[in-house]
Amino acid sequence: MTTTTRNPLPASRWKESWRSFRIATWLGWQIESNWTDPFLFAIYSIVKPLAGAAILVVMYGIISGGNFEDPLFPYIYLGNAFYIYVGAVMTGVSWAVIDDREHYKTLKYMYAAPIRIPAYLLGRGVARFLTGSFSVIVTIVAGVLFLHVPLNPLQADWLLFFLALFLGIVMLAMLGLLLGGISLLIVNHSWFIGEAVAGALYLFSGAIFPLEVLPAWLRPVGFAMPMTYWLELLRRSLVGNVAQAFPTLATFSNLELLGILLGLSVVFGVISVFVFRRCDHLARERGLIDMTTHY
């Protein structure tokens, strides 16, 4: 080697975080976009979400006696479509832990490098957010074109939409970080913890039915979930005029909902960072950073 230059002085915390995030985004995209088989990609990103939506539509049709003009329909349809993000983003962030540790066997090298691991994991999730967005858009476009979901782009409140979307994605990414911390500690890796948690919370978030349907003692779970307010805001911003379809949050104004979403996001964000740090610490103590289960 001709060079003997040493690495520069330690980068600042922010610089290091940004660097970790940026490179991790690149890596995540390389992995996610590695569709050796475009057909599989189509199945995963188009057919699967559409099939999910179709099941919902059929069930709605049966229960409502085919009343697709009811404002309840776009509510359910959009709630279900945006809920795709919940699993995608949470999985995207948390799965990187398992993937790097078990599959690529690189997690220990990441940990030994000057990387901010939370920033790294968040970066790894970006690609899933993008492919998730694709699924969400496909689902919504299909709803507008074929099922008369009354979404008029000219009447939508785009400012509110993107504000809520941004806030929600950040919130989901932080929850993904929390799950990533837990993934560091668990040995069983045979399922996607992100998708599993998303599935478990599906019924508590008002995605496809109002919280009033739940038994009274379960409702607080729904009210404590930032997803509940997030989905409501997204729906209102797109099809605001049918806001009364779900009674749950009808008494809140958009601004109030935004405030609640922001507040809950901050609370969950702080909890996530705390939990992640704790798990990270425990993982180092127990020697789990390079643990592999032989499967």
Partner: protein, 339 residues
Amino acid sequence: MSSLAIETQDLGRIYKIRGSKKEKKIRKELVALADVNLQIERGELFGLLGPNGAGKTTLIKILTTLLAPTSGQARVSGFDIVTDAARVRPLINMVSGGESSGYGLLTVRENLWMFSQFYGLPSKEANRRIEELLKMVGLGDRIHTKSSDLSTGLRQKMNIVRGFLTDPEVLFLDEPTLGLDVGASRDVRNFIRHWLEVDETRTLLLTTHYMVEAEELCDRVAIINQGRVLACDSPAVLKRRLQKDAIFEVATSPLNGLTGAAIEALPEVRTATAAEHDGGATLNLILVEEAALAGVINIFTQRNVRILNLSKREPTLEDVFIDLVGRSMAEVEEGGQDE
């Protein structure tokens, strides 16, 4: 600031092992490292030599901030590996042998480039070094190959390049030649030597359970067994301990129940290890005095064991290990961690 590259004080690590489901409450403790005190100067090529399970990887994991010690302290490049971990990491790098890590869907260049970026290496400089290093280990023509298409050995070479790429102040290599064929091992050893020659401030800590590797490469070697450092010095000085002893290798007919322990019980026999194989056995004898050989030959005669070949030889690190532990590394590995 300390001029030492690595310094450990009474470093210890205990693993808590959960019992099987039935005996969940019984928590066993395994001492993987105990009271390790090492002082490694900048510019040294330092070797940790010990059998499987000795605690070598555990030590490397602690020094590279992946694992918390349960007792004691350690500094790398002057920074505490627990309280100042974030300042240690930019200065070090680490490679484990015997595994094929990396992102299979990326090319060799992409894999390496990505890791260099985490260290803040300018992209152009990174690419220049990648080409140079790959050429040096004989991977120059594979730069655009997807790493999943590489053989395990070549992947390991790529991984080794990843370690050197960021030009760390202290580089940790955990069994770098494990699983490599003879030629590739030699390439890697030559490369390691060259890297240290070019810049005298570079430090390398290498673990191995190949005696020859430690002997041939390292400035100093710590012999480690069951988590304890038993001796630490240059290979020459370590071997000098045995200089006065007479070391013999004896090939015999089958031992007919005669054991190393029985021979060891003879006067003036320091250690005797026996490895039986088809139709015979090979014994390694370390005698305090050459005259003790008479007693050994005597016992052979009694047991009807014929000597097929007998040669005296210079001490090796293997002999040093046997002298320290009482068993050969192979025997320790077979016997496991018990007792």
